[in-house]
């Protein structure tokens, strides 16, 4: 029986901004139902990697393969269908200020699938319940929510389309440790319950240990190390060791 291709494969990605080469042949795979966490210092290209995977940015070279099919070989409509299988939780939530919480969550239903507003609202309230937000917040605007509630609203928006893969960009940044842990637990349970895959980028190693099936460390524009989170402390790699222990001294130069 032929082996199933990975859900997402990034192959030999290169990306430069002016003279600064950010990605130098980065390759990474995410399997079905797998939670992969990408760690690495600031400015090493973690966000650029997921923006390229989501089609928000073009790579200078390399290939994005979804379910065995190269994105570059797809027509515009095929590409849109393939990318619609992905959900995204942005670092700041990226909720639409001018729309109410439920309209944010049901955005795809209202504006893409043309579901009537009453049915869309019911589904939005259901999705909000999954991220432990009550129906009372549905009529509020994003500016009325705390940082943690905004993250949870954005998470509800990301899961409503039942994506096959959700990207999480620094999901715990800017949150207090307790809220951050609650968000980690929520991500783990949602990914498990929905049966979807996850690709998370973070600096937060506690978060990585909690939500990852596999951790990959990016350095100098490529994946330097991959392994189970339990192996992070015993990777045997001086770069990983320095990052995990948060030491300024070592082969990685602080990005000051």
């Amino acid at each position: 029986m032929p082996e199933m291709p990975p859900l997402l494969a990034l192959r030999r990605l290169h990306k430069a901004f002016g003279d600064k080469q950010v990605l130098r042949g980065l390759s990474l795979e995410v399997g079905r139902g797998e939670s992969v966490v990408l760690i690495g210092g600031s400015g090493v290209g973690k966000s650029v990697t997921i923006k390229i995977a989501l089609g928000l940015m073009r790579a200078d070279a390399g290939e994005i393969v979804i379910d065995g099919a190269s994105l570059a070989a797809m027509s515009g409509a095929e590409r849109a269908t393939a990318l619609a299988r992905f959900g995204m939780l942005f670092q700041g939530g990226a909720l639409f200020d001018s729309l109410r919480v439920w309209e944010n969550v049901a955005f795809r239903l209202i504006y893409r699938e043309h579901v009537n507003r009453r049915a869309a609202k019911a589904q939005a309230i259901e999705a909000l319940a999954k991220v432990r937000l009550g129906p009372d917040v549905a009529e509020l605007y994003p500016a009325n929510l705390s940082g943690g509630m905004q993250k949870r609203t954005a998470l509800a928006r990301a899961i409503l389309g039942r994506p096959d893969l959700i990207f999480f960009d620094e999901p715990t940044t800017g949150l207090d440790p307790i809220t951050a842990d609650a968000i980690n637990a929520l991500i783990s349970s949602l990914v498990r319950d929905l049966g979807c895959a996850a690709l998370t980028i973070t600096h937060d190693l506690a978060s990585a240990r909690k939500i990852a099936d596999r951790v990959a460390m990016i350095h100098d524009g490529r994946i330097l190390w991959e392994g189970r989170p339990a192996l992070l402390n015993a990777s045997g790699d001086p770069f990983v060791d320095q990052f995990v222990h948060g030491r300024a001294d070592g082969p990685i130069q602080p990005n000051l």
Binding site: K51, A80, L83, G92, A94, L95, D97, F107, R112, R157
Partner: protein, 257 residues
């Protein structure tokens, strides 16, 4: 750096900017003219751009009409042509001042607001979020604003025309001793449909320019709050310059020789 190279680099960057703006305007036009149409967004923008601009456009028109009447009276008195005040006021307001001043007021009020809103959406990743939700920002954000401005600016100009003429009428009757019925008869008899029509065509073009400039500069925002502020300033300045330039071109086309 070689001064010639610096001049060359600046010239190239200006042409790049003009090219980018032209491509953006073409894409905006294509998005505004083809489905899907986000009716609720168009309605919301018509309210913001049109209805909420009524007070500022109306007040501007009244005062400009009044000042215009005084100036024409003063100038006309030098060669005994004071009686032409109603004719010149209505011509000046409908063909020129109504559309241009309404557009300039909207450039300040609307272009800046559009640039700031879209710029904030750009720097807070809301535009990226739209794309991940399978929605084209050009159709969801730009097209409704362009359509709303193109439709509502002519409506605002009709209001500005009426109030501008009223401003001239009030000053002429109260301060310059014009007979009210003679003033109104001269105004109505002198006015031609083409005078109003050309003003409305100008208004639609100005609406397109000021909305596109707001969206274009907002979409190019980078660098946080400062970048959003710069985008708003660039939007107002470029919209105002383009309105004056387009006004000259259209006036030259419409003028009967």
């Amino acid at each position: 750096m070689n001064p010639l190279a610096a001049i060359g680099a600046s010239t190239l960057s200006i042409f790049r900017l003009i090219g980018a703006a032209a491509i953006f305007a073409t894409r905006a036009l294509a998005a505004a003219g083809s489905p899907p149409f986000y009716i609720d967004q168009i309605g919301r923008q018509m309210l913001r751009i049109g209805f909420f601009s009524l007070p500022v456009v109306g007040l501007t028109a009244v005062f400009i009409g009044a000042a215009l009447a005084l100036n024409i009276y003063t100038g006309g008195a030098r060669f005994n042509a004071e009686q032409f005040v109603p004719n010149i006021v209505v011509l000046g307001i409908t063909r020129e001042l109504g559309p241009v001043l309404a557009a300039l007021m909207l450039a300040g009020r609307v272009s800046a607001a559009i640039a700031a809103e879209i710029g904030t959406m750009r720097v807070t990743e809301q535009i990226d979020a739209l794309k991940t939700l399978s929605t084209d920002p050009m159709r969801f954000l730009v097209a409704p604003r362009v359509l709303a401005a193109v439709v509502t600016l002519p409506l605002l100009v009709i209001v500005a025309d009426i109030l501008g003429v009223m401003g001239g009428f009030l000053v002429s009757v109260w301060s310059l001793d014009f007979n009210p019925s003679v003033y109104l008869r001269n105004t109505i008899e002198f006015l031609e449909a083409a005078d109003v029509g050309t003003g409305l065509i100008k208004a639609a073009v100005f609406g397109f320019l000021l909305a596109v400039m707001g969206c274009f500069h907002g979409d190019r925002s980078a660098g946080g709050a400062r970048g959003v502020g710069i985008a708003a300033t660039h939007a107002v300045v470029s919209a105002a310059v383009l309105i004056f330039a387009a006004n000259y071109v259209m006036t030259a086309l419409f003028v009967e020789r």
